[in-house]
C-alpha cells in the first residue's frame, strides 16, 4: 500500500542533531532527487535511538541496516551504494565490540539489549482494563501453576534462589521475607502491596499499576499462597486516581473470572484483595508506618522488632512488598530462578526500573539490567544532557539517597555499589543535574522535603532535620560560616545514627554526599559568599554589561538607593556596596545590559 519502497530513518534526537543530522537528512534528500528517487524512497527524521555515543545514526528500512557516526558527506555513498547498487556501506556499519564484526541487521545489535523489560513487560503493550489481554500474555499462568503444582515451600525456595530483592529501597531479599511470614503460625495473615510511592520525581510504581495492574494482583495471590494468607491489601495514595480506578477494574475482572475469591482455579486456595488509601505522607512508605496508617492510626513508624512478618496489620503476620518487586514475581515463577539470576550482577539480580528526570533529553521510564552503568543510562538511553550543557551530578534514591558525580559515571548500578559510593538504589528516581544547578540548593530542597514529611515521633528527625535545614538556608543566604560545614556533617551523622526509622536514618544523605563531592561549592558559599551556578539569589550581584549598555540612564533613574552611576550615552556602573538587590534596574533595562552574576 505504500508508495515508498524504502525508508531512510535519520535520528533527530538532540545528540545527533548537534552533530548535523538534519544536514545529513537534507543531503540524503538532495542525492535521492538527483537520482530521481524522491518519490520512491523517503527520508524521515525520528526520535532518539538511544545510541548517542555512536551518532549520528541512519537506519535503512526495510533491511534494518544500521549506520553509525554518519557525516553529511556520507550521504552520497549511502544513496549510490546502498540505495542504487544494493551494497551496504561497510565503513559506516556498527562494529560489535565483542565479536569485532560489522553488524548488518540492527536486530542483532547489543545495544537493543541495554533495556530489558521484565517488570514493564506489559506496560504500553496491553489494554490494562481488559483482563483477557493480560491472560493472552501468559497472565495468571504462574498463579495457576503455583497453586496447582507447587508447594509453598518449593515456591519460596524458588524465589530465594532467584535472588530477587525488594525494589522499594532497602533491597531486602523477597524470598527470605516470605519465608519469615510463612513460618509464623497464626489464624490470619495478610499480604500488603506497598504502592505509597513518594520520592520526588519517581513514577515507576504508578506506571506499573496504570499499565499492568493484574501483574501485581497475581503476584499478591502467589505471596498469599506461600505465606498462608487469604487476604491482601494494596496501600495506595489517593493522589493516584487513575491507578486506583484501573486497580478496581482489574480486581473486579479477576473476581469475575474466579482468579480472586474462593477456590481459585478449582483448587482449595482462597484469596481476595482490597484497596486502602493513603493520604500521601512520605513516611507511610516505611512498612511499619504504612501498617499503622492502614489500621486508622497516625502514620508513624514503630520499633522493629517486632517485624511485620511477626506482628503486622491488626497484630497478624504480614508480608509487605513493593509494586515493582511484585511485578517481577509471575515472570520469575514462569521462567525460573536460574533465568532471573542470570540477569544482573553478583549482588543484585534482574532489572531495575528508573524514572529519568531533570536536565536530561529523554525524560522517561526505563528498565535496565542491574550492573548497567550510569553513563549508559544517562548518555545513551537518556540521550545526554539538555541544551548541550555539562553534566554535574545525578541524584539517586530520592530524599534518602545521594548525588553521584562525573567520577561515578562508570560504576555499575547495583545495591552494594551505590551505597559504597554514598548514594543508594532507592525506589528508582534518577534526577540529572547540570552545570546550572547549585548543589547546596539541591541539598536544601531535599531537606525541605524531609522536614515537611518527618512524622515527628522521634526527636533526631523532627528537630535535627529542621536544624540542618536552617543551616543550609543560612548558607544559601550568604550568612554561613566555615564552621557550619562541620556542624552540618556532625549533626547529619547523629541524625543517621539515632533516628527511629528509615526516613530519619537516611535524610542527611543528600547533605553528606554533596559535602563529600562538592565541598568546594559549599566553601565558596560560606567563604567567598558566591554561588558559582548562579542559583542562590542572595549571593548574586546585579551587574551592567558594558557592551550592551547604551547609557540611556533608565536604570539609574529607577534605582531607589541611587547606587547606579554613569554619564549619558556612556556605560553605567552599579555599586555593589549600596545595592539592595531590588531588581528595578533589570526590569527597566530594554537592552539586556543588567544581569545577575
Amino acid at each position: 500500500m505504500s508508495n515508498y519502497s524504502m525508508h531512510l530513518l535519520v535520528c533527530g534526537g538532540t545528540g545527533c542533531k548537534s552533530q548535523e543530522s538534519d544536514i545529513i537528512a537534507e543531503k540524503l534528500k538532495k542525492e535521492l532527487s538527483k537520482q530521481g528517487l524522491e518519490d520512491t524512497i523517503q527520508v524521515i527524521m525520528t526520535g532518539c535511538f538511544g545510541f548517542c555515543e555512536k551518532g549520528p545514526i541512519v537506519k535503512v528500512m526495510p533491511d534494518n541496516t544500521f549506520y553509525t557516526q554518519v557525516k553529511p558527506e556520507d550521504a552520497e555513498d549511502i544513496v549510490e551504494e546502498h540505495v542504487i547498487k544494493g551494497r551496504r556501506v561497510e565503513r559506516l556499519l556498527y562494529t560489535d565490540p565483542e565479536t569485532n564484526k560489522h553488524v548488518e541487521d540492527s536486530k542483532g545489535m547489543g545495544f537493543y539489549k541495554k533495556q530489558i523489560r521484565i517488570a514493564l513487560r506489559n506496560c504500553g503493550i496491553i489494554d490494562p482494563e481488559v483482563i483477557d489481554e493480560y491472560i493472552a500474555r501468559d497472565g495468571y499462568q504462574a498463579l495457576g501453576d503455583v497453586i496447582s503444582n507447587k508447594s509453598p515451600e518449593e515456591t519460596i525456595a524458588l524465589m530465594k534462589e532467584s535472588g530477587l530483592r525488594g525494589r522499594g529501597g532497602a533491597g531486602f531479599p523477597a524470598g527470605l521475607k516470605w519465608e519469615f511470614a510463612s513460618k509464623n503460625e497464626a489464624d490470619q495473615k495478610y499480604v500488603v502491596c506497598n504502592a505509597d510511592e513518594g520520592d520526588p520525581g519517581a513514577f515507576m510504581d504508578r506506571s506499573i499499576l496504570e499499565g499492568d495492574p493484574h501483574s501485581v494482583l497475581e503476584a499478591m495471590a502467589i505471596v498469599g499462597y506461600c505465606i498462608g494468607a487469604d487476604m491482601g491489601y494494596i496501600y495506595i495514595r489517593a493522589e493516584y486516581p487513575l491507578a486506583i480506578e484501573r486497580l478496581k477494574i482489574a480486581i473486579a475482572q479477576a473476581r469475575e473470572y474466579g482468579l480472586l475469591g474462593k477456590g481459585i482455579l478449582g483448587t482449595g486456595f482462597n484469596f481476595d484483595i482490597d484497596l486502602k488509601y493513603g493520604a500521601g505522607a512520605f513516611v507511610c512508605g516505611e512498612e511499619t508506618a504504612l501498617i499503622q496508617s492502614m489500621e486508622g492510626e497516625r502514620g508513624e513508624p514503630t520499633l522493629k522488632p517486632p517485624f511485620p512478618a511477626e506482628s503486622g496489620y491488626l497484630g497478624k503476620p504480614t508480608n509487605v512488598n513493593n509494586v515493582e518487586t511484585l511485578a517481577n514475581v509471575p515472570v520469575i515463577i514462569q521462567k525460573g530462578a536460574a533465568w532471573f539470576s542470570s540477569i544482573g550482577t553478583e549482588d543484585s539480580k534482574g532489572t531495575k526500573v528508573f524514572a529519568l528526570a531533570g536536565k536530561i533529553n529523554n525524560v522517561g521510564l526505563i528498565e535496565v539490567p542491574m550492573g548497567t552503568t550510569l553513563r549508559e543510562v544517562i548518555f545513551e538511553i537518556g540521550g545526554g544532557i539538555k541544551d548541550g550543557k555539562k553534566f554535574k551530578a545525578v541524584q539517586t534514591g530520592g530524599p534518602s539517597g545521594g548525588c553521584l558525580t562525573e567520577k561515578h559515571l562508570d560504576i555499575p548500578i547495583d545495591y552494594k555499589t551505590l551505597v559504597a559510593n554514598g548514594s543508594m538504589m532507592g525506589s528508582g528516581g534518577m534526577i540529572v543535574l547540570d552545570e546550572d544547578d547549585c548543589m547546596v540548593s539541591i541539598a536544601k530542597y531535599y531537606l525541605d522535603f524531609t522536614v515537611e514529611e518527618s512524622c515527628g515521633k522521634c526527636s533526631p528527625c523532627r528537630i535535627g532535620n529542621k536544624r540542618l535545614y536552617e543551616l543550609l538556608d543560612r548558607i544559601c543566604a550568604g550568612k554561613g560560616e566555615e564552621s557550619d560545614l562541620i556542624r552540618l556533617r556532625s549533626l547529619g551523622e547523629v541524625i543517621k545514627d539515632t533516628s527511629l526509622c528509615g526516613l530519619g536514618q537516611s535524610s542527611p544523605n543528600p547533605i553528606l554526599s554533596t559535602l563529600d563531592n562538592f565541598y568546594e561549592e559549599y566553601l565558596s558559599h560560606v567563604v567567598d559568599k558566591k554561588c558559582t551556578s548562579g542559583v542562590c539569589t542572595d549571593l548574586l550581584e546585579y551587574f551592567i554589561v558594558e557592551e550592551n549598555c547604551i547609557g540611556c540612564t533608565a536604570c539609574a533613574r529607577a534605582c531607589p538607593v541611587g547606587c547606579i552611576s554613569g554619564e549619558r550615552k556612556e556605560p553605567h556602573l552599579i555599586n555593589p556596596e549600596t545595592c539592595i538587590k531590588c531588581g528595578a534596574c533589570m526590569e527597566k533595562c530594554k537592552f539586556d545590559a543588567v544581569i545577575l552574576k
Binding site: E129, S148, S207, E210, Q253, I366
Partner: protein, 133 residues
C-alpha cells in the same frame, strides 16, 4: 464483551490464553484483527495530562469518518515521557511503529500519510528495548 464465566482450572486458563492468542475467540470472529489497522494510545496519567485523551478521541472519530476500519485501544505508559502523547500504529502485515508528540495535527498527518498511504512521517520513536517473551 461476553459475560465472564469463572475459570475452573489451570487447563481452562491455558485454553483461554491460547484462544485469545490465536484470535479464535467468538467475539472476534469476523473482525479478523490481523487485517485491521490497530492503534494503541499510551494512556497513563502522564499521557492523559499531555492530551492523550483528545488524541484518542480524534483518532477514533476521524478514522470512522474517513471510512478506515481500525481498532483504537488504550494502553499503559510506553516510557517516552519526553514525547507524549505517544501512539503505536500497526498496519496489516507491518511491524508496529511508535509515534511521539501526537497532537491533533500530528494525528491527522499520521492518518492521511501513514495509515492511508504507508508513508512514514517525522516523529517516529525507535524501539530501543527488548521485552522478555
Amino acid at each position: 464483551m461476553r459475560p465472564m464465566e469463572k475459570i475452573k482450572s489451570l487447563a481452562d486458563l491455558k485454553k483461554i490464553r491460547d484462544e485469545k492468542l490465536s484470535g479464535l475467540q467468538t467475539r472476534e470472529k469476523g473482525e479478523d484483527s490481523e487485517n485491521r489497522v490497530q492503534i494503541k494510545v499510551a494512556m497513563a496519567t502522564c499521557g492523559i495530562a499531555s492530551g492523550a485523551k483528545d488524541t484518542m478521541e480524534f483518532m477514533s472519530d476521524a478514522l470512522e469518518k474517513r471510512g478506515i476500519d481500525a481498532l483504537v485501544t488504550q494502553t499503559g505508559c510506553m516510557g517516552y515521557c519526553y514525547a507524549e502523547p505517544t501512539i503505536e500504529v500497526k498496519l496489516p502485515e507491518s511491524d508496529p511503529v511508535v509515534f511521539g508528540g501526537v497532537n491533533l495535527e500530528k494525528a491527522d498527518e499520521i492518518i492521511e500519510k501513514y495509515i492511508k498511504g504507508g508513508e512514514l512521517v517525522d516523529g517516529i520513536i525507535p524501539v530501543n528495548y527488548e521485552i522478555i517473551d
